[in-house]
């Protein structure tokens, strides 16, 4: 506790205590700290090197990509991007557009359906709630392969193959139960008094949900939106089975085309379009980091 005497007059928040103690560390501690940082920096480099290599390689002429593995040398050019954009018979913008549509539909669906269900689970008392809640948690762990074939048959019977509906409609029916759970946890954390006050003022559940709960749960909604964005953008299996014609492909399936065409491998173009496909994910990561870290810490979603 003596460390507190060195502290400035303001009361330090709890998590700063260790930093403060660091202020008077022994030489042995500093040596340990230096080693730790060296280790962590090496690990950081190992972790991001493949990503940086991808970006740099996408900017190199095809014949130079594998001749040297350094990320600092070589002539840089945008040729791969120009060529890659059109090398899949349709311009890459078509696939980007498809992915965007899928993402928007999925985000709206998840936000609407999961918040409704979460409000019911967290705030309403109705018959069978606990049983439903247990079932909901169970569906999170259920491998989707068990419903794969019948779902495919349903969508085929509905004439929805080659449309985005099989990939969007389930979101409007809260099939991503993870987000229900995340929102339930969040609503339970809100002070009960707010809801009681609204009740006393005569507000019905629709009002309490729309005007009290939703505005308060913006962080949970943002987390849901960002994770839905990232997962939908990266989803490969769904589009692979429901979309077979090129003009419907999202980015993930379009990228597969570069792997299929092994005979005429144009690595530069493949890397360039890979980078293009990662940019939206990277932006979501930068903008939503705060929510991502919180969301993942609460529920363990990836």
């Amino acid at each position: 506790m003596t460390a507190l005497h060195d502290a400035p007059a303001i009361t330090p928040p709890d998590e700063d205590l260790r930093t403060l103690r660091r202020g008077r560390r022994s030489p042995r501690d500093s040596a340990r700290s230096v080693f730790k940082h060296i280790g962590l920096i090496i690990l950081s480099i190992v972790m991001v090197y493949p990503l940086i290599w991808l970006v740099v390689s996408s900017l190199k002429p095809n014949d130079e990509i594998f001749t040297d593995l350094s990320i600092f040398s070589g002539n840089l050019t945008l040729d791969n991007y120009v060529y890659g954009w059109t090398s899949q018979q349709l311009p890459f913008s078509v696939f980007l557009g498809n992915s965007t549509l899928l993402v928007i539909g999925a985000i709206i669906g998840n936000l609407v359906s999961c918040s409704l269900a979460a409000y019911a689970f967290a705030r309403l008392r109705f018959w069978g709630r606990n049983a439903y809640f247990a079932i909901m948690l169970g569906t999170i762990m259920l491998p989707f392969h068990v419903v794969l074939v019948p779902q495919f048959v349903i969508f085929r019977e509905l004439g929805w193959l080659e449309t985005f509906l099989p990939l969007i409609v389930p979101k409007f029916l809260a099939l991503d139960a993870f987000f229900i759970f995340l929102m339930v946890q969040f609503i339970r954390g809100l002070p009960k008094e707010i809801f009681e006050a609204a009740r006393i003022d005569g507000a019905g559940h629709a009002r309490i949900f729309g005007q009290v709960t939703l505005p308060l749960m913006v962080p949970a909604l943002a987390t849901t939106a960002i994770f839905t964005f990232i997962w939908t953008w990266g989803d490969f299996f769904g589009p692979l089975i429901y979309l077979r014609t090129r003009e419907n492909f999202p980015v993930s399936v379009a990228l597969k085309g570069f792997v299929d065409a092994q005979s005429s491998s144009n690595y530069g173009a493949m890397f360039a379009m890979s980078v293009v496909s990662l940019i939206p994910l990277f932006l979501a990561f930068l903008l939503g980091q705060r929510y991502l870290v919180k969301g993942i810490a609460t529920t363990g979603i990836k």
Binding site: R18, V112, S113, Q151, V153, F172, F181, G234, F236, V251
Partner: protein, 314 residues
Amino acid sequence: MSSIGELRKIARRPRGTAGAASKSAYPDNKAGYLFLAPWLIGLVVFTIGPMLASLFLAFTDYNLLQPPEWSGLDNVARMMGDARLWNSLRVTLVYVLVSVPLQLALALAVAVLLDRGMRGLAFYRSVFYLPSLLGGSVAIAILWRQVFGKEGIVNGFLAWFGIEGPGWISHPDYALATIIILHVWTFGSPMVIFLAGLRQIPEMYYEAAQVDGAGRVRRFFSITFPLLTPIIFFNLVLQIIFAFQSFTQAYIVSGGTGGPSDSTMFFTLYLYKQAFTELNMGYASAMAWFLLVIIAGFTAFNFWLSKYWVFYDD
């Protein structure tokens, strides 16, 4: 905090006098079902209904074109004799049993290294977390094909030491290892969960232990690890369930073949091929239920084992 903790609580809750409960115990019945309607419809139409249907299809011969034909236990018998299926199960088991513990151990080790309030914490956390966000994408799987290619980064690095690396992706002995490494590379998301868990441990425990003269190792095994076991357990259960279902990486890295020599033919990849390439929808349904049984078995075993090592404070 965790969904598994929730399930435990529900299971433990004493079965009260539910039958005798008066109507006023459920004042929000109408609103409740109204708000829950989308989820309930989804549950019936896209989960429970399809589960029953797939259970039925598992005992039929069905190719999408003709109506399903009852075949009794033929699919089960066929699974028994299907060497490719057993191989795919072996590949998947190796993947799950190696990659999940490795990933979690690394996540825990790095999380413990990243003290709260240390310099650069936010930076390290971002750098380690980024790969787990991107790791599931096709682009990263494509990148992996090159990283471990004959002329890829890994072999380039080995060449510095005069070692001539194999074509990792194209060699049946190594191809699966590259996908395991890809999985370990995404240790960032469990790491973030561990970091959150570490924050919950009161600082005074460590201070008291330090006063008592406990060293770093002792403090880890006497305080950190026991208090973190519920979170480790939570991660372990979920990561195993998810790892059994991995698909994209194996598909892309092997160019959709599961090769070389079926060495990356994951169970899910074989199931996909049976369903959508061979149109053996009945057989694929039987496989799906087999997968469910295996995953449920692993999860149940995990819960049973948890009695001996997971420490609950409550």
